[in-house]
Every structure is written in C-alpha cells, then in structure tokens.
C-alpha cells in the first residue's frame, strides 16, 4: 500500500495558492468610524463640578436617611455587656417613601459598580509586544 503524502513545500504551495479569506469591503471603514466615535466620546470631558454635584445628589439622600431621620445603632454600647456583639443597622425608616428612596440609591450604586465590573470582564487584556 502506498501511503498518500505531500511534502512540506507542496503543502505550503497549495495552501498559499488557496489564499486567505478576505473580509467585506467596509471592513476598514467600520474600524476607522468606530475609532472616530470613541475619540469624540473621549474628548467630551465631564467637568469636575458636575461630577461633584452628581456624587452629592446620589449620596445626600443616603446621608439624610442615615443621620437625620434614623439612628444608626451598631450595638457598640452593648459590646461590653454581650459576649458576641450584635451588629444592627437601624435607620428608623418610618415610611414607604423612605424605604423606596434608600432602595433606589442602593440600586443606582449597585448598577454603577456592576457595570464597571462587567466592562472590566469584557475587556480582553492585551499583552505587551
């Protein structure tokens, strides 16, 4: 039985003769447009004052709920009396509105943190070359 064979040279010639697959004609344009879009997005700088305002707007309801309406009881006073300290957060939320606003703030922050996490996960690290 004669085994079917091809030399390295023949194989290389055949594969090179077959050539490479070509992407669509809009390939370059799509990449360059994407880069331009990203550059425009990065040039829109958010002023520092608006970032501060945003943080205040997000944090102030939480601060309000924590320090004005309710009492934070971390059980510190009971530490000496009880062997295992009980930690409890009593914000003294008396109305549904307060619960909802606290929940809204928590959801906003969780969404913000989760989005950052997902962005980092999606980005494949590029090694140095």
């Amino acid at each position: 039985m004669k085994e079917f064979n091809l030399s390295d040279k023949e194989l290389k010639a055949l594969l090179q003769n077959e050539g490479m697959d070509e992407p669509s004609l809009s390939f370059n344009r799509n990449i360059l447009e994407q880069i331009k879009k990203e550059e425009v997005r990065s040039t829109i700088s958010i002023p520092l004052w608006s970032k501060i305002v945003f943080i205040i707007l997000v944090l102030s309801p939480l601060a309000y709920l924590a320090f004005t309406t309710g009492d934070i009881d971390l059980g510190l006073q009971q530490l000496n009396e009880i062997r295992t300290p009980k930690l409890s957060l009593n914000l003294g939320l008396s109305s549904t509105y307060q619960y909802i606003s606290l929940l809204a703030v928590a959801v906003i922050w969780m969404a913000f943190i989760f989005n950052r996490f997902l962005e980092q996960q999606n980005e494949t690290k590029v090694k140095k070359g």
Partner: protein
C-alpha cells in the same frame, strides 16, 4: 535588504499610529486584515462573527498600540490579539465545533487510488480539496496549519500567538499535518469511488 526596508517602513507606520495618525492605521489594517480575518474565521466558522472579531482586534490594537514595544513582529502581536479575542467570543457563545474522529478512519483500505487521483487533479481543483480538508480539522489544527504554512509564521511566533508551549506547537503541527493529509486522502478516495 528588502526585509530590513519593510521592517523600517513598518516601524515608521507604527510610530505614526502611536501619534494618532489614522491614515497610517489604515495602512496597517490593509496589510494585515486578510490574515486576521482568516485566523478569526478558522475559529469562528462564520464570516459575520469572524469579521466582528477581526474588527474588534484591530480596535484593541489601536487602543493599546503604546503597549507594542517592537519586541516581536507587529503581525505576531496583532494575531495574538485576534486569537484571544476569538477565543473569548467563542467562550461566550459556547459554540459547538465539529471535529472528525480520525481514530475511526485508521483502517482505510487503500491509499494508492487516492494518490493517483491527486496527481490527475488540476491545480485549481486541488485547492478546493485542500480547503475542504482543512475545514474538516479541529480549530487548533486549522490555526496551527494556517499560521505555519499559509502565513509562514515560525514555531516561536506560533507559541507567542497561541500561548502554547514550543513542544506542544511541534506536536500539534505534526499531528495537524497528518490529519490534513488523511482528510485530503479520504476526500479523494470518496471522489475516486464515486467515479468508479
């Protein structure tokens, strides 16, 4: 001499890209898009996905061009990004890839008819068979064959692109070559039998 000139020209282009020259980046895309796309297609098995992967890889290369310090060839660095981007995409899509079970094909009766048929085939017909046979291989086999024979990457460059050990690359290449020939032979054998 020509190779040195090409390398110098490439360095100039990359320097311009680092300065944000889009025209220079367009030249880089033109130079490497076919291989980047071919590589992505070998893994994705779908033109749309392959094009997205290749585009994504070029975007990553542009964003991280400052990371390229010229320690390896630009093409090697770029194909590493293409390969990793495709793998990440594949993992997400959990695509089922087909692989031939070559162990079942060990006991093929005769090779001589295939050999004769091969030599009778015209050049363009041979190319068609090569493509078909290549499509029958696993992703890893296609990648290693494409990089080594089609793009003429060295074993060391294949190691960089795929992150495989050198010994692993050698073994894979050897096995992939054997499987390609076997697949080719099987295709030709079927052709011969259909003619008889």
């Amino acid at each position: 001499m020509q190779r040195e000139n090409e390398q110098y020209a490439m360095e100039l282009i990359i320097a311009k890209v680092k300065e944000g020259d889009m025209a220079a980046f367009n030249v880089l895309i033109d130079e490497h898009k076919a291989m980047a796309f071919t590589l992505a297609l070998k893994l994705m098995k779908n033109r749309e996905d392959a094009e997205e992967v290749a585009q994504d890889a070029f975007l990553k290369a542009y964003r991280n061009i400052h990371q390229f310090e010229g320690n390896s060839k630009f093409s090697t660095w770029l194909y590493t990004i293409v390969y990793n981007t495709a793998l990440t995409r594949l993992r997400k899509k959990k695509l089922q890839t087909t692989d031939l079970d070559f162990h079942q094909e060990e006991n093929l009766a005769s090779y001589s008819e295939s050999d004769k048929e091969w030599h009778r085939l015209q050049k363009f017909e041979r190319s068609g068979y090569i493509k078909e046979a290549l499509d029958l291989l696993s992703n890893e086999d296609q990648i290693v064959i494409t990089l080594f024979y089609l793009n003429e990457n060295s074993l060391q460059e294949i190691c960089e692109i795929t992150n495989w050990e050198l010994s692993n690359v050698k073994v894979r290449l050897h096995r992939a070559r054997k499987r390609l020939l076997k697949a080719l032979e099987q295709l030709l054998d079927t052709e011969v039998r259909s003619l008889l």
